[in-house]
């Protein structure tokens, strides 16, 4: 276990450094935040003075060196737009995104797995045909377009759910959560569903493929030869074998949900990290962009680690030679 942990950490630091360099070069190439944020009245002298004050006239690698020095002390620079430490802003927006991602994942698992099981066990039945057609649809619907339709239909015409925003939150050990309030849940349902749609079809198809692969196995034939009831065979023997690959995919996909929330947050005005990064890119707020990337990288390392651990716990065949690495 330790081995894959260390290997992942080394890999992550490499990614971190590479990412920050790319963003630094990129952001400097396309523009200068001073041009965008400066007041219309300020004259040329003011502009050059500000550029010097922010050190933006330094050669790129000096700026990068300054940044790294700061980063090592936990200061990822201050946002040009919010005038607050970039790290703090991101962490303020993180719970909203995490909450949405978890809700979407739970929803996709709660819907995807039962449907996948049913489709796998009853391949020829009519409901299965509908489920599979639905999954193709779920796969193909572009997230942003669906988001619009959801708002239009459920919020505006039917008025069942609020159209945007996050609703009231309850602060639990210092972090505001909205899923603890009824209003928060109502706000979260549509965006979470929008995010979950793609993942549900993915999990559904994975579960179905898993079931179809496990059913003809000879240990299932032996289980039937042992006289076990269908229900027990599915619940005990089939389910655990099917869930192992599904769990790993859900883990890995959790990361991409967080990334994809960029689109959903923009449409549903959900104050998460996704919306923040899009706005920061528009105004070239580089400290926030870099801080966002670093947090995403850290988040991904954690996710991959959790998936590794989960995988070894679930599948005994992996656990025993964990020392030998994969």
């Amino acid at each position: 276990m330790l081995v894959s942990l260390l290997r992942r950490l080394i890999q992550a630091t490499f990614v971190l450094v590479a990412m920050t360099v790319i963003v630094f070069l990129g952001v400097n190439v396309i523009g200068n935040p001073v041009d965008i944020l400066i007041s219309p009245q300020a004259d040329q002298a003011e502009r050059t003075r500000l550029i010097a004050e922010f050190g933006l006239d330094q050669p790129v690698w000096i700026q990068y060196f300054e940044f790294v020095k700061g980063a090592l002390q936990g200061d990822l620079g201050t946002s040009y737009v919010f005038n607050e430490p970039a790290l703090k802003i991101i962490l303020q927006h993180l719970p909203a995104t995490l909450e949405l991602a978890v809700a979407a994942t739970l929803m996709s698992v709660a819907i995807g797995i039962p449907l996948g099981l049913y489709a796998g066990l009853r391949p020829k039945s009519l409901p299965t045909r509908i489920i599979m057609a639905g999954s193709i649809l779920g796969f193909s619907l572009p997230t942003f377009w669906v988001g619009m339709l959801l708002i239009l239909c459920f919020a505006v015409y039917l008025g069942w759910f609020p159209s945007s925003g996050r609703g009231d939150t309850v602060t639990v050990f210092g972090i505001p959560w909205s899923f603890l309030t009824l209003d928060g849940l109502q706000h979260m349902l549509l965006p979470a569903f929008n995010l979950a749609l793609f993942k549900t079809s993915l999990i559904l198809r994975l579960t179905r493929a898993g079931v179809q692969e496990v059913m003809p196995q000879d240990y299932i034939r032996l289980a039937r030869a042992k006289g076990l009831s269908n229900r027990r065979i599915v619940a005990v023997h089939v389910l655990k074998n099917v869930l192992i690959p599904v769990v790993t995919v859900v883990g890995l996909e959790f990361g991409s949900i967080i990334a994809f929330s960029v689109v959903t947050e923009k449409i549903f005005a959900w104050p998460g990290m996704g919306k923040l990064i899009i706005d920061s890119i528009n105004v070239l707020d580089r400290p926030v962009m870099v801080a966002y990337l670093m947090i995403i990288v850290v988040l991904f390392i954690l996710i991959n680690l959790v998936v590794d651990v989960l995988y070894t716990i679930l599948d005994p065949r992996i656990r025993l030679n964990a020392g030998r690495g994969r």
Binding site: I136, S140, P142, L149, A259, V263
Partner: protein
């Protein structure tokens, strides 16, 4: 010589099965009606995109033909000056949505197909090399793949486009950078299985050069699973391009792809002018769904493990 033949009759009667594996594959593909429907729809869409100039009353990218007075007309209205009917309504520039969809389809398909194919070629070659050569090269390539896949596609594309700026070539480049890893991993996976099979070892024993083993033996057998992944990736590329355009970092605004059409129409969605977004959305959905249908059936026919 003839001696051996006469006294064992069992030997010469070969079983009668379809001819080449390709004919065999298509026969199996055609057995699902859903897949055929998907294929037909896809062909229809591709033809519509190719023959767009002849099918559409207006070239939406030529500003000369747009008349602002024709702006925001609902479906079925006639154009003020140019005398044709806006079958699916017009946008605020007076651009006919029906024509814009067909031209937009063209861009979406081009972006999707080119990026998927380039990524396929780059990825597969690297994957095959990794599998066949193994050792140091394999671990470096696969570390790179893991690195790439551990990052969500949309974020990487976003960062690339934010730094390189807009334009179709940049979008394609971003998509290729994001997609090649999936192909590399799939190609390596299948190639590893194939290299262990005896016909590759037999070729090795015969002293055939590596080049011919790789391209005459290994590649043809790795093609089927890759075909499935190409179809799925094309659908993903089109969807991703549309999302990027929606976020405002995709194709330039004067030549809107389907994604941008939807994005432009988005503001009018709540104003009851549904047609600006709904019709391009349906076109985009039809394209992606048909490709997925075909891809899905191909997977059942070749049933590779892959992505």
């Amino acid at each position: 010589m003839s001696g051996t033949q006469s006294h064992n009759p069992l030997v010469t009667s070969a079983a009668k099965v379809e001819a080449s594996p390709l004919a065999h594959a298509f026969h199996q593909f055609a057995r699902s009606r859903l897949a055929l429907f998907g294929l037909a729809l896809l062909l229809l869409i591709v033809c519509a995109a190719i023959f767009a100039p002849w099918l559409t009353p207006q070239n939406p990218y030529d500003l000369m033909q747009l008349d602002i007075l024709d702006g925001m007309l609902p479906p079925g209205e006639a154009s003020m000056s140019q005398g044709f009917i806006f079958r699916l309504g017009s946008d605020e520039q007076g651009r006919d949505i029906y024509s814009a969809i067909l031209y937009g389809l063209r861009i979406s398909l081009i972006v999707g197909v080119i990026s998927a194919l380039t990524a396929a070629i780059v990825g597969s070659v690297l994957g095959l090399l990794a599998a066949y050569v193994g050792g140091r090269t394999e671990s470096t390539i696969m570390r790179l793949v893991d690195l790439q896949l551990s990052f969500p596609t949309i974020l990487v594309a976003l960062m690339i486009l934010a730094t390189l700026g807009k334009g179709i070539t940049n979008v394609v480049l971003a998509l290729v950078i994001v997609e090649w890893a999936t192909f590399a991993r799939a190609a390596r996976g299948t190639a590893l299985v194939e290299t262990r099979r005896e016909y590759v070892e037999a070729a090795d024993c015969m002293g055939l050069p590596m080049r011919s083993i790789l391209f005459r033996h290994l590649l043809p057998n790795c093609i089927p699973p890759l075909i499935v992944i190409v179809t799925v990736q094309i659908a993903k590329a089109i969807s991703l391009e549309a999302t990027l355009s929606f976020l405002g970092v995709g194709v330039p605004v004067t030549e809107p792809s389907l994604g941008l059409l939807i994005a432009n129409g988005y503001q009018f969605m709540f104003a009851g002018k549904y047609w600006l977004s709904v019709f391009p959305g349906i076109a985009l959905l039809a394209t992606i769904a048909s490709i997925n249908l075909v891809g899905d059936r191909l997977r059942d026919v070749f049933n590779p493990r892959g992505a």
